[in-house]
């Protein structure tokens, strides 16, 4: 019998395997079973108290709802319990290291949440008179100044609502520039490395371009021979979409040459800024020949990921593209801020509007609070610590795991599945990490590395946490190397076992339906 630190006995002679304990409730200790609101709620129940309607007023002209909505309600205590119980089935940064490569899951400061909720920001309407929102416009202008200064770029479009939306913004600016040059019909080809995020090729096509894939070389960078051969004698190049640092976690060593060659070929350089966190304060994309780059405020500048958004993707633009920015934008004149919502005159260069209103204000407030907290000195230190943490992980993990490429990495370490025994896959390692209490790394991305495992610790992890993580992952890697078949069924300890994704896709159930209705179908 072992004792805990308070001298009390811990579980006496516990069997090594988990006993299969069945509970009547379906709950398992702190893991509470929670049914759907459609099963527990009722259309006659509500968790809000509203004043009684006066009645007798109707100016709808008969355009009324004919059938009932079918929405269940819960009282406030039931609703709180429902969501808190659900929350306990989620992993989160606040629980532990969240090493999803390319996602930059760093700590989300609570000060940001506090300032975003100041009524002066949260309770103002996008269409109220501009004289009544001078502080909001000033904030957008101040954030824009930070972004322009950190990137060394002269202009920024603030309205893109996420990274992919920023890509769309940048590529539309390139499209606008090509239209102005009278070359939109001929310049249709966009070069995209094979290692790119899926959003890059999807965006290029959405902007009316054709995608031409460039190979990666043995060093995980753009294959310069392949790149040059694609430019040779061409007059149809619109541009290149390149992530830097790239999705292998490496700085593109030939980036200046790539920029020069693409410009000489008459194209523009779009840089995917998803990995900007690695280089803030050390390198300015403007010095690399970049024409457009989105910045994920929800990665580099700590706004919360919220289970898949909302994000924000302001897009910095070079001199060559600045005139092709979308509306609206903020300009300052004698201390007064104006929101320009329409470009004046015919033949204006702007491509129009990306979305309603002016962008993700709630993310702007958070990002600015983060920047002010870190300052120029802290942002640089953060980038360096992010890169240091990743290299520390790489150097410890490579004792068992196979690094995809030689040399130092930037902010994320990439491994292939070469070290695993026959039959053990990246997926099995990822799922085993869940049992160790960690969120898995990014799996099977980038596509250029077999069984890729992309690990990004970020700068907000302590050395002690990194060491614990390494011990866990190394023990799993040893098992994978030895061909331990128990990995195939992991996770064992999570709220759910492996889920059947094939069944979900074969017969999609995307909403709740009455049980008898399902039977009838």
């Amino acid at each position: 019998m072992s004792m805990n630190s308070q001298g009390r006995p811990t579980t006496p002679s516990a069997p090594s395997a988990q006993p299969a304990i069945e509970t009547v409730s379906g709950s398992r200790g702190l893991q509470q079973r929670e049914d759907l609101i459609f099963e527990t709620g009722s259309t006659t129940k509500t968790g809000v108290d509203l004043p009684a309607p006066k009645g007798g007023m109707d100016r709808l002209g008969g355009v009324t709802r004919k059938k009932s909505v079918g929405l269940p309600g819960l009282s406030e205590p039931e609703a709180v319990r429902h969501y808190v119980r659900l929350s306990q089935q989620n992993y989160a940064i606040d629980l532990g290291l969240f090493p999803l490569g390319s996602c930059t899951m760093k700590h989300n400061p609570r000060l940001n949440e506090k300032v975003a909720r100041m009524p002066g920001f949260a309770d103002i309407h996008p269409l109220q008179p501009q004289s009544t929102v001078q502080g909001a416009l000033e904030l957008i202008d101040e954030l824009a100044t930070w972004l322009k200064t950190l990137t060394g770029m002269p202009a920024v479009a603030m309205s893109p609502k996420a990274g992919a939306h920023g890509e769309f913004c940048g590529m539309m600016a390139i499209r606008g520039a090509l239209i102005a040059r009278g070359e939109i019909e001929t310049r249709t080809r966009v070069l995209v490395p094979a290692s790119a995020h899926g959003t890059n090729p999807a965006t290029a096509v959405q902007c009316g371009f054709k995608v031409d894939e460039i190979k990666a070389d043995a060093r995980g960078r753009v294959d310069m021979d392949d790149f040059k051969s694609k430019l040779e004698g061409s007059d149809d190049i619109a541009g290149i979409m390149l992530t830097n640092p790239n999705t292998c976690g490496l700085f593109e060593t030939d980036i200046r040459e790539i920029a020069d060659l693409i410009h000489q070929a008459g194209g523009y350089f779009y840089c995917d800024g998803a990995n900007f966190n690695a280089i803030v304060g050390r390198v300015r994309p403007g010095d690399l020949g970049v024409d457009a780059m989105h910045i994920n405020l929800h990665k580099t500048f700590s706004t919360p990921h919220g289970g898949g958004g909302p994000g924000a993707g302001p897009t910095v633009l070079s001199e060559a593209l600045a005139d092709f920015a979308p509306v609206p934008f903020v300009v300052e004149e004698d201390g007064v801020f104006h929101l320009v919502e329409q470009r004046s005159g015919e033949g204006s260069d702007a491509f129009g509007r990306l979305c309603a209103f002016h962008g993700q204000m709630g993310m702007f407030t958070r990002a600015l609070a983060y920047m002010l907290s870190h300052g120029a000195d802290g942002l640089k230190q953060a980038a360096e610590d992010a890169v240091l943490n990743a290299n520390y992980l790489q150097s410890r993990l490579k004792t068992v795991m196979t690094p995809a490429f030689d040399g130092y990495c930037m902010h994320e370490a990439l491994f292939s599945d070469a070290f695993t025994a026959e039959g053990i896959e990246t997926l099995d390692i990822a799922k085993a990490m869940i049992d160790e209490g960690y969120h898995p790394m990014t799996m099977y991305f980038p596509l250029v590395v077999h069984g890729a495992m992309l690990i990004e610790p970020t700068e907000t992890e302590s050395k002690a946490e990194l060491d614990r993580f390494c011990e866990s992952l190394l023990s799993i890697a040893e098992k994978a190397k030895a061909g331990d078949q128990s990995l195939k069924s992991a996770p064992y300890l999570a709220p759910k076992r492996r889920l059947d994704e094939t069944q979900a896709a074969r017969k999609p159930e995307l909403r709740w339906s009455e049980p008898d209705k399902i039977a009838a179908e």
Binding site: V69, H125, S131, T149, H197, G352, G375, K496
Partner: protein, 448 residues
Amino acid sequence: MRYLPLTPEDRKEMLATIGAASVDEFYTDVPEAARLGGKITGLPDHQGELAVERHMGALAAKNRTASEGPFFVGCGAYKHHVPATVDHIIQRSEFLTTYTPYQPEIAQGTLQSLFEFQSQVAALTAMEVANASMYDGSTACAEAAVMACRVTRRQKVVLSGGLHPHYAAATRTVCEAQGIEIVQLAPGVDDELALVDAVDDETACVIGQSPNVFGTVTDLTPVADAAHEKKALLVSVFTEAVALGMTMPPGEMGADIAVGEGQSIGNPLNFGGPYVGLFACSKKLMRQMPGRLCGETVDADGNRGFVLTLSTREQHIRRDKATSNICTNAGLCTLAFTAHMTLLGEKGLGHLAQLNHEAACMLADALEGVPGVELLTPRFFNEFAFRIPGDAGDVLEKLDGLGVVGGVRASRLYPGKGLDDVIIAAATECTSEADIKAYADALATVLS
């Protein structure tokens, strides 16, 4: 630097483990000319929490909030009361600080709430299926247009004269890049049914809105019938989700795709974002939908669970052949929406809708009593347009001087379209009878 856990000793020790002399060694791949020596100039150094809070507070104090006094601005974003519970729930660490649920075994909280969200949106719009959200209503509208072109293999989209001009502009941006022709009908307060005559054999979809940007509610059934006769689709748009608690929803009008803004449920005004785009459609179009979808399945023990599904539509699998480039959506705003909707339930939603409608009816009665005011919107939910003698911008500025934020001048949304004397005003459950009286009194003063 409170967000950085590494100590100078940690850094030294870690560099030794790695075998590097300094972090500079990690940056040797950077072209020498682009390496920054010191720190970037022109930006302040790090500050404590108190200093940052003061700076942000000073900026916030320069804005007039919607709660400060009589406030009637709508047109796509609405001042509603959000229960305290909602903000508490979305600040739970496990929801706030997690990622897109790629690992379903440890993301059931997010996934089940998304499944419930999709079910609620489908019910609210009276459509068969809904996705896990888009960025906002306007981008959802643009994606619907592109989806309709994909489904029908046609390249023409017709926009009604009552579609929110920002939605029309966002849709035009996306469509023009893909060679899709846009036909924009002239602005009209009550012209949604003009879509009936605008649909032809080349039309992929017609896009109508109810309530429209002027507040007019319209039964779009004749538009759906006309569209279907030409094998085109009806995309039905709404910017005020609360309206669907009592007005005819897209599904009852025969819409093929329903898109709208969900901000009104659970989300504050936030000066325009982040909001939450709602996207629903018929089941047969399901596999052509953009965005994330959450579906039900079972785990290895046979227990019910939820996963992201039909991902072969999406950019991370399909790359250049994806239905959309969307990756991040409106995760936490969907949670706010679904939590608020769960608190409301059908009963609360109907009640809330009625309070909104009554507030607008009382506002209309009061303003119609002001000499010179002409109500333009014939049928409305919680928002309407009216004409005043004089320039709407001047009148709104004078109202502001009297403490009333009176609405949106139509010319801000439609510059140069002869709507300089039109104001669009909204009322919600937050609008008190005193607010309404203050508006009518102030308007009478300004116009006299």
